[in-house]
């Protein structure tokens, strides 16, 4: 590889901008091309939870822990306030089955040294007096945090631009140029841009973008709807998710009843973000009546103080879903110069800092702090015939209905 390659990144979400930022500060020549506006994809339509507890022990949790370390230092490097606060996180438990499942889960996490503990109802209510008495306990970790995902994305972009990255918005990539099995650049609505390396950070559209280069990648959009309240007095001090989802993973019998889990956070302004749904509906970013209703009722059941709040708006984002819940990071061996950086599903914000750093290292041929082997684009190759990995080319939903249970966030 040449000493100073021109790297082109497709996608101005938190992942694309983080990579651009990490590359640009090292003096690399970077161009970022975004179809609409910065943070117009999932990164501008999500919660900002930087949750460790929800990550599966293993490489996933390791990534999250490394990312968290970097978040603490991040503010100094970015030109806008990103509202990163370690509020501590609660995973609320409502049934005894959930309690049993969470107990095991917490033990596993403690075993690898994560600062997490199981609280009973009284302890939970002490920490968070506004919560419903229906909650019988919670897993608590002081490490869990939140950040403003939009400011984070814009912050990465502005920092990248300050370091001479070229950022083009409202410029969709329509074609990927390939010559002798090597990517040479992209065609955009504003013309052709030549590049040595092309990074696909197109979020939920990464599958679509890969197809432009003739590569199949099992990234699919998974919609999440969110409701936002007006800015009110503080009623929720921690980031909160419900255990239904995690418990279901450990006890398959619960999977049918546990629902999709709920998340809540109160931002610095006082707005409560209530989320979310998990739906395969292609690229539809609409809000549905049952979706909004479900989120609000479930959130209010856990936080009765919500009764005094009003919902002022809703939105929906498309998580970049992959079949095994892990992002796809690194060069595609079948096509020289084509690099994947997408598929963070519900964790893209939390993993953005580490992803940017690892990707920058990998693109510049340095050894990344965490090996990218587990995230390799090739990991799905051997399973290419598995119906669960197939995307319906029309609807962009999984071809097989039996969707494996992913993680929350």
């Amino acid at each position: 590889m040449r000493s100073s390659p021109h790297i082109l990144i497709i996608g101005g979400g938190v992942i694309g901008t983080s990579i651009a930022c990490h590359l640009a500060v090292q003096g690399t020549q970077v161009t970022l091309v975004e179809a609409k506006d910065l943070a117009s994809g999932s990164s501008g339509a999500c919660d900002g939870l930087v949750f460790l507890q929800s990550k599966k022990p293993g490489v996933h949790l390791q990534m999250a822990m490394e990312s968290l370390k970097r978040f603490r230092k991040l503010q100094k490097q970015l030109p806008v306030p990103v509202e990163f606060i370690q509020t501590g996180g609660l995973v609320t438990i409502e049934t005894h089955e959930e309690y049993r499942a969470m107990k095991k889960y917490v033990q596993d996490q403690q075993a690898i040294g994560l600062d997490v503990q199981l609280l009973d109802r009284k302890q939970v209510l002490q920490r968070e007096p506004g919560l419903s008495r229906r909650i019988i306990g919670a897993a608590y970790s002081p490490l869990d945090a939140r950040v403003n995902p939009i400011s984070l994305t814009l912050g990465f972009a502005l920092a990248a631009r300050k370091n001479h990255a070229w950022i083009l918005t409202r410029t969709p990539v329509t074609e990927i140029l390939v010559k002798n099995n090597r990517v040479t650049g992209v065609v955009t609505s504003r013309g052709t841009i030549l590049a040595d390396l092309v990074v696909n950070a197109a979020g939920a559209a990464a599958g679509k973008v890969s197809r432009m280069a003739g590569i199949q990648m099992p990234v699919m959009p998974r919609r999440g709807q969110i409701a936002v309240t007006h800015a009110g007095p503080p009623v929720l001090h921690h980031c909160l998710i419900s255990a239904g989802y995690i418990a279901a993973k450990y006890n398959p019998d619960l999977a049918r009843t546990a629902g999709q889990g709920i998340s809540m956070e109160q931002t610095e302004n006082g707005n409560l973000l209530l989320g979310s749904t998990r739906e395969f509906v292609g690229f539809d970013t609409g809000n549905t009546l049952p979706g909004i209703r479900k989120i609000i009722t479930e959130a209010a059941a856990r936080l009765p103080a919500l009764a005094a709040f009003q919902i002022i708006r809703t939105f929906a984002g498309l998580r970049p879903y992959t079949p095994d819940g892990l992002p796809i990071l690194g060069p595609v061996s079948k096509l020289d110069g084509f690099v994947m950086a997408a598929g963070h599903e519900g964790d893209g914000i939390a993993l953005s800092t580490i992803t940017g750093e690892l990707m920058a290292d990998s693109l510049l041929d340095r050894k990344p702090a965490i090996s990218l082997d587990d995230f390799s684009p090739e990991r799905f190759d051997s399973l290419a015939t598995d119906p669960m990995l197939q995307t319906d080319p029309e609807t962009w939903r999984p071809a097989a209905q039996a969707v494996p249970q992913g993680r929350i966030r």
């Binding site: 008495r133 007006h230 009546l289 209010a300 919902i311």
Partner: protein, 512 residues
């Protein structure tokens, strides 16, 4: 609970202004189930502002002298009695139109499912006994009208500073003066109308500041020849102002509203040709209320939420629901009528309501195919098309007269609040624009403007004009404000299963 309303209707009309009333009236009496929904405690939308007493006549109040009564009669808008009649006809017990109000439409979902918050007895859609309901309609008519727009100035968030419409509602619907001494400013025909109403009821008007110069206004006069009655109306208003010796400052704008917890004074200054306020020309007026407004913009949040296409045209007042000549929107089964489709006055809403009604009757098979090609139906319809065009041309003129010189928006002082809900200042907006956030969705993300309770209803058009003034970006590129359900604030308590739920107490005990 027994529900007095059905949950399916042939036609649901949203908005009971002249447009909605007219559509409902045309449809009534053909055997269809029709529901007319409005969030306002009073029927008639922004035009019909009748005092509460049912037996009172239209404009309300007794005039102060014989000369004035004559003036009133000359300039009375013929749409007032027409609209009053319409409102009575539609709400009459035998009319066959279910009236659902005050009821707020929160959103329109696939299959024309309407999500509604209604409160049958509490006098407001979100009152004590409020509940959520869903109505399904075969055909939907969106008649959500228009709102005012503004040019922000220092102190415009002070209590006592209000829109011209707010002052007008106080005077005409409630016969309450907006203050003991009121100043009026902006670029709107409502300024003269308001001053006139205040004077009629012995209110004090300190001064009226019109951002347009006398010269500019005179230049517009020839265009009004076609709309002669409006000229007469204007002349009558001016005569009353003159008689009461109310200072009318042409080419002046508000520089500042002063006061602590309430406005106590207004400073007007002369406006330069590029929209800046000329130093040294400021004049102070001691007032306790200040009414401002700079014309109108269509209320498109419901059409946008429902997925209807919108178009931008300054002649329509900005972004407006795109409709065919028969008032169909881009979404199957959804019609739009009145000022939602472009500013054009009460008559336009009336005419469009009739056209909508006829189109729907045709769609529902009430008009014999032969009849819909020949005969009186066609003739009437063509006359209406023609009249609607005339109203549009008046609307275009009106919008031009209200328009503030574009540059004025670029010259708003840095410390002025632009987004009232989120307290975002001009400085923050400018900085974001400099950083390249020049589309509606990106500036919203970069600054939080438009993310508060009003969901950009107030600041949206302003920020669009600021971006336009600072960068020359076309509104089509800046994009229309986005809108999703609920289009207005939805109390969470309405979604909590029941008040008797043992789950509720902990929070509520604490809450109150």
């Amino acid at each position: 609970m027994a529900d007095p309303y059905r949950n399916t209707y042939h036609v649901a009309v949203i908005g009971a202004g002249i447009g909605g009333l007219s559509a409902a009236h045309t449809l009534a009496g053909h055997g269809f189930n029709i529901v007319l929904i409005d969030e306002n405690p009073h029927m008639g939308g922004q035009f019909l502002r009748r005092p509460f007493r049912p037996h009172n006549s239209d404009t309300g109040g007794t005039a102060s002298g014989s000369r004035s009564r004559l003036l009133d009669r000359i300039h009375q808008d013929p749409m007032v009695p027409a609209g009053t009649w319409l409102a009575e006809a539609v709400t009459a017990p035998g009319a066959g139109v279910d009236i659902l109000h005050p009821a707020q439409v929160l959103g329109i979902f696939p299959d024309r499912r309407i999500w509604i918050m209604a409160s049958p007895t509490a006098g407001t859609a979100a009152g004590q006994d409020a509940r959520l309901m869903e109505i399904k309609a075969e055909i939907l008519v969106l008649a959500t009208g228009a709102r005012e727009q503004y040019l922000p100035f220092k102190g415009w968030t002070l209590p006592g500073v209000m829109s011209l419409g707010a002052a007008q509602i106080l005077v005409k619907s409630h016969q309450v003066l907006p203050g003991a001494c009121t100043a009026i400013a902006g670029t709107s025909p409502l300024m003269m109308a308001l001053a006139n109403d205040l004077l009629k009821h012995r209110g004090h008007v300190a001064a009226l500041a019109d951002s347009h110069s006398m010269r500019w206004k005179m230049g517009q006069l020839p265009f009004f020849i076609r709309h002669f009655p409006k000229l007469i109306q204007g002349a009558c208003y001016a005569a009353r102002l003159f008689r009461h010796r109310i200072p009318v400052l042409h080419g002046h704008s508000v520089q500042e509203a002063q006061g602590q917890e309430r406005v106590s004074g207004a400073v007007f200054a002369r406006t330069g040709p590029d929209g800046c306020l000329l130093p040294g020309t400021d004049r102070f007026w001691k007032v306790d209320s200040l009414a401002v407004g700079h014309g109108f913009v269509p209320n498109i949040e419901l059409p946008v939420q429902a997925g209807c296409r919108v178009t931008y045209d300054p002649a329509l007042g900005g972004w407006a629901a795109a409709v065919t000549v028969n008032m169909e929107t881009s979404v199957n089964g959804i019609y739009a009528v009145g000022e939602t489709t472009g500013i054009g006055g009460a008559e336009q809403s009336w005419i469009q309501g009739k056209i909508t009604g006829m189109s729907i009757l045709e769609q529902l098979g009430c008009i014999h195919p032969l009849q819909s090609r020949w005969g009186r139906f066609v003739k009437t319809r063509h006359q209406l098309y023609h009249r609607a065009d005339e109203c549009r041309s008046y609307g275009a003129l009106l919008n031009r007269v209200c328009r503030v010189p574009a540059a004025a928006y670029g010259r708003i002082p840095d410390d002025t609040v632009i987004c009232r809900c989120e307290n975002i200042t001009m400085q923050t907006i400018k900085q974001a624009v400099q950083n390249g956030f020049t589309s509606w969705s990106s500036i919203k993300k970069a600054t939080r403007c438009g993310m508060g309770r009003c969901q950009a209803r107030i600041c949206g058009p302003i920020i669009q004009k600021i971006i336009q003034a600072l960068t020359g970006t076309e509104p089509q590129i800046i994009g229309p404000p986005v809108s999703r359900g609920p289009v207005k604030n939805l109390p969470v308590r309405l979604l909590i299963p029941s008040a008797g739920n043992p789950e509720n107490p902990p929070g509520q005990e604490k809450g109150q």
